[in-house]
Each structure stands twice: as structure tokens, then as C-alpha cells.
């Protein structure tokens, strides 16, 4: 009887996952959707502990450990999630994702201990599911940790010589080891060798991928973990794990593809690392000799105050400088002076799609002010001043003009169409993709060097005076 109740609860949990995910994809219902999925998760966990029947019931130690584990995880998880800066959100997601991957891999390891392998030549489906869970979970874990480290700035981009070749060889090794073990030669040494190879593969897989592409990788690893969780579900015939895992696996894959589309690149292109590793040299020669023109704070203030239309293009630089609040202040000040101010948000501004919206929302920028690329571009020519704050690649005209540029074909915010462009930037360094930006040398472009927050504070003070 109780087993049926458990199954029904898993069914409810699965439904909450589907509904939650669906609601998460609409702005109005998103928060409720998240909550619904969380409630579903909670009842699935509680039901598993209370109803699930182990072989015997005299295992108080285990219950104690489970409760302790849940408690520790909850406390640490809540603390980390509450304390994290909004700018560090992408790496936080990556970290939690890695934890899920590790969990799946650990499950596979324990189940392997309890499993008798290598009996004759018979096909052992359970063993295959374990191996796959182990591999995908491990790759997801080590890959996510590298992505986390890279976004935190703790790990630098590094490309091994022939990294691509090594990766292919490792992938083959993993496949070969899996097949070999499946043919009835499975033993624990090989199992752990496979674990190590998968972990190393995860590292090498993410290592050469440039920081600008990290969101895509995190999204991909996210769907990997989903698949790993689903294998766990397969192992136990657990429908909640299966639905949750597969849903995330397929939804995550679609999300990854959507992100690639926003950058107008294919997934293979991202994974084989067109940029990040191999720095572009294409545009360098043409613009190398020119110098960019600077503008002072007071001139900027005057220019902005007497404009009609101003568009602000926020980028990761704004996020790093924590300048979203002061930016909002400037925007309000200008609005009071009768200037129309809007934000133009490129689909991949920041480190993740939508990341910039979250940051601006944190600073109370009204939702309607944040406009998408398609809305803003047609109006660019009528814009008096575009203020680019810590963004670079998303406004690089090379994406439209220079076929040799690695970002060629990526849709950009066409700020070069506007009457004036002011670029707030720390220095003349290239953007995250490592590409020179000829926009900086255009006649209508002026550079305002300095830390974004600092410059904006001075600018706000100056605008007040005008």
C-alpha cells in the first residue's frame, strides 16, 4: 500500500517539475513556478525518507546520517545562495550544478560496490546505466568546477598544445573503457580508471573554452547533470528522478541551443573554441595605428543633459564595478531633465543571457526601460547619445563588417548608427573575446576612461550641476 502512496507522491512531484519549468518560462509566473517545483522536491524527499522501505527497518544510524546530510546541505546551500553577489550568479549556478553531478557520480560508485559485475558475457543493463551515470556525473562535476573557477577569476584560460586532439583521444578512451567493461570485463580497477578519466575529461573539456562562452557551457553541463540524474532514476525505477532529470536534460539542451543562436554561433563552434583560446588577429592591423579620442566628465554631462534620446548599453564591466545603482540614479536624473533614457540589452550581455536584466532589476530599473536588441536597433539612428558602460564585443561593428573576425555574424547593438557614442571603459584593452573594437576609433566615438562606478558617480554629480 505505502509503495503506491510513494509512487503517487513521485507523480505529483514530477508534475510540479513540469509545471514549475513551464511557469519559469514566463516573466509573470516565474517566481511561483520556482516555488511550486521546490515544494514538489520537498515532498519527494520527505516521502522517500518516510515511506521508502529498505530491506530492514532497524537502521537508525542511516536515518540520522540522512537527516544530518540534509541539514548540512540546506544550511550551506542557503547561506551561499543568500550571500552571493548578483554579479557572481553564473558561477554560483555552475557550482550548484557541479554538486548535482558529483551526487550522481557518487550514487553510481556506491551502487557499483553493491553490484556484482562481470558475470560471463551477459548484457548487464544496470551496469551500463551505472557507468553512464558515473561518466556524465563526473564530467559535469569537474567541468562545472572549472567553469566556476574561471568565472571567479581563479583559473585562467589555458589551452594545452593539441588540446582538441587530447580531448578526442580521451573521449575515445571513455567510450572504449565503457564498451570493454560492458563486454563482461568489468572490475573495480577499470571502474575507477574510468572515473578518473571522466573527471580529467571534464576539466580539459571546459579549460580551453573562452569566458564569453561560459554561459553556454554551464547550460550544457546543466543538462548533463540532468541526464546523470535520470540515469540514477533508471537504476532505481524512480519516476521523480527520471522526470526531473530528463526534463532538465532536454530543456537544458534547448536552452543551450537558444543561447548559441543569440550569439549566432553553432554549438560545435563554441565547443571547439573559435575564440577565447585562439585570439583573433584579423582586425588588429587596421586599427592598431589609430588613437581613440577622450572626453571629459563635464563635457559628457553637458552632452547628455541636452540630448533628447539616450540609450545606455550595459555590459559586464558595469556588473563588475557594481555600478547598476548609480547608473539608475543617472538615468533618473536625466529623465527629470526631460531626456528619454532606455537600456539596450544585448541577448548575451553580461555573462549569461538575462544576467544584465537581473542586475538592473536589482537597482530598480523599470522593466519597460530594458529593451531588447530587436527593439532598439531600428531606433539607433534617432538616438542622440549611446552610453556604452563596460560592454565591448556586443557593440563591435566587426561582427557585421569583418568576415575574418571570430564574432562575425553575431547580431550586435548597432550603436555606430547613433549620433554620438560615449564609451566608459577602464582602458583600451580588448573585450572578453579578445577582439579589437574599431568602434573606439570612429569619429563620433569618445572614450571616458576610468572605473565605471567612479565615472558614473562623477558624471551624476556633474549632471546635477548642469
Amino acid at each position: 500500500m505505502s509503495i503506491n502512496i510513494l509512487e503517487i507522491i513521485y507523480l505529483i512531484a514530477s508534475l510540479t517539475f513540469v509545471i514549475g519549468l513551464k511557469m519559469l518560462s514566463h516573466p509573470e509566473s516565474a517566481r511561483k513556478g520556482n516555488l511550486i517545483a521546490a515544494v514538489g522536491m520537498l515532498i519527494a524527499v520527505i516521502a522517500t525518507i518516510t515511506i521508502y522501505q529498505p530491506f530492514d527497518n532497524s537502521k537508525l544510524i542511516n536515518y540520522g546520517l540522512i537527516a544530518l546530510g540534509l541539514l548540512v546541505g540546506t544550511i550551506i546551500g542557503t547561506m551561499m545562495a543568500k550571500k552571493v553577489q548578483m554579479t557572481a550568479m553564473p558561477q554560483m549556478v555552475s557550482f550548484f550544478n557541479g554538486m548535482g553531478g558529483a551526487c550522481a557520480a557518487l550514487i553510481a560508485i556506491i551502487e557499483f560496490q553493491n553490484h556484482e559485475v562481470g558475470i560471463g558475457n551477459s548484457f548487464d543493463g544496470e551496469f551500463l546505466v551505472m557507468l553512464l551515470g558515473l561518466i556524465i556525473g563526473s564530467v559535469s562535476f569537474s567541468g562545472s568546477m572549472i567553469a566556476y573557477g574561471k568565472l571567479e577569476g581563479k583559473i585562467k584560460d589555458k589551452v594545452l598544445p593539441m588540446n582538441q586532439l587530447i580531448n578526442v583521444v580521451m573521449l575515445f578512451t571513455i567510450v572504449a573503457l565503457t564498451i570493454y567493461q560492458m563486454l563482461g570485463y568489468g572490475d573495480s580497477t577499470l571502474f575507477y580508471i574510468l572515473l578518473v578519466v571522466a573527471l580529467v575529461y571534464g576539466i580539459l573539456f571546459v579549460m580551453p573554452i573562452g569566458g564569453a562562452d561560459m554561459p553556454v557551457v554551464i547550460s550544457l553541463l546543466n543538462s548533463f547533470t540532468g541526464v546523470a540524474a535520470a540515469f540514477g532514476g533508471f537504476l532505481y525505477g524512480n519516476k521523480a528522478m527520471l522526470t526531473g532529470g530528463i526534463l532538465v536534460g532536454s530543456a537544458g539542451t534547448i536552452l543551450t541551443i537558444l543561447m548559441c543562436k543569440a550569439m549566432n554561433r553553432s554549438l560545435t563552434n563554441v565547443l571547439l573554441g573559435a575564440f577565447g583560446g585562439t585570439k583573433a588577429s584579423g582586425a588588429k592591423g587596421e586599427v592598431g595605428e589609430q588613437t581613440a579620442k577622450e572626453i571629459s566628465i563635464s563635457d559628457t554631462a553637458v552632452l547628455l543633459s541636452y540630448s533628447q534620446n539616450v540609450v545606455i548599453v550595459p555590459g559586464y564591466g558595469l556588473a563588475v564595478a557594481q555600478a547598476q545603482h548609480i547608473c539608475h540614479e543617472l538615468e533618473q536624473l536625466l529623465e527629470e531633465k526631460g531626456v528619454t533614457v532606455n537600456y539596450a540589452i544585448h541577448p548575451v550581455a553580461g555573462r549569461m543571457p538575462g544576467h544584465m536584466n537581473v542586475l538592473l532589476a536589482e537597482a530598480d530599473v523599470p522593466y519597460e526601460r530594458m529593451q531588447e536588441m530587436e527593439e532598439v536597433n531600428p531606433r539607433m539612428a534617432n538616438t542622440d547619445v549611446v552610453v556604452v558602460i563596460g560592454a565591448n564585443d556586443v557593440v563591435n561593428p566587426a561582427a557585421k563588417k569583418d568576415p575574418s573576425s571570430p564574432i562575425y555574424g553575431m547580431p550586435i547593438l548597432e550603436v555606430d548608427q547613433a549620433k554620438n557614442v560615449i564609451i566608459l571603459k577602464r582602458g583600451m584593452s580588448a573585450g572578453y573575446a579578445g577582439i579589437e573594437n574599431e568602434l573606439f576609433f570612429y569619429p563620433k566615438t569618445r572614450m571616458l576612461f576610468g572605473d565605471a562606478k567612479d565615472s558614473l558617480q562623477k558624471l551624476t554629480a556633474e549632471v546635477k550641476e548642469v
Binding site: F17, G20, L24, S25, P27, A30, G33, N34, L35, A37, A38, T48, I49, Y52, P54, K59, N62, L65, L68, G69, L70, G73, I76, G77, T78, K82, F96, M99, C103, L106, I110, N114, F123, G125, N222, S223, G226, A228, A229, Y236, N238, K239, M241, T243, G244, G245, L247, V248, S250, A251, I254, L255, L258, M352, P353, H355, N357, V358, P366, M370
Partner: protein
């Protein structure tokens, strides 16, 4: 060959389930505005934390004196919980920011 066919046959229900769930995932996600990509990814991230259920099952199966299993299982429970709790809380924090404005204006 025969065994692998048997395995598929025995798990036919699961395989149907799998395929339908894949299609469902695709269907649910399409037409998402770019603004929601990050919260959605984060929410999905929390949902695959359901793997913690597996970790709990592992622990329930483990013999109380099987220390390696208990230790690894305990770690799995902690990590899975981190994934679930951290994932949902982070997502909620992100979405909270979108909610604030309509009240104000």
C-alpha cells in the same frame, strides 16, 4: 544481443517515459524570452537536484556498518541537498528582483 534486447523489452515502459519526457522538456522551454534564460537555467539546475532522492535511497539500502558506503552516501546527500536548496534559493533571489518594480510604480 539477446540479453540487450531483453533489457530493452523489460524496460519498455521506462523508454516510452523517457522519450515523452524529452519531448515535454523541449515543448516546455521553447519561446522563452532571453531575459529569463538565466533564472530558467538556474531553476532547471535546482530541479535536477532531485538526484538527492537517489542519494537517500542509497543510504537507506546501506548496511549500518558499511562505512565506505555510508561516508560516500552522506557526501552525496550533502551535495545533492546543496544543489536543490542552493538552486531554488538563488533562482528565487533572481526572480524576486523582477517582481519588485510593479509594486513601486
Amino acid at each position: 544481443m539477446e540479453e540487450s534486447l531483453n533489457f530493452i523489452g523489460e524496460n519498455m515502459e521506462m523508454i516510452y517515459f523517457l522519450i515523452l519526457a524529452i519531448l515535454l522538456g523541449v515543448e516546455v522551454i521553447s519561446n522563452v524570452p532571453a531575459i529569463l534564460h538565466t533564472p530558467l537555467m538556474s531553476g532547471a539546475n535546482a530541479i535536477h537536484g532531485v538526484v538527492v532522492v537517489g542519494a537517500i535511497i542509497v543510504m537507506l539500502h546501506a548496511a549500518p556498518d558499511n562505512y565506505p558506503s555510508l561516508i560516500v552516501g552522506f557526501l552525496a546527500v550533502v551535495m545533492g541537498t546543496l544543489n536543490v536548496v542552493g538552486g531554488f534559493v538563488v533562482t528565487d533571489r533572481m526572480l524576486e528582483m523582477f517582481k519588485k518594480k510593479p509594486k513601486k510604480s
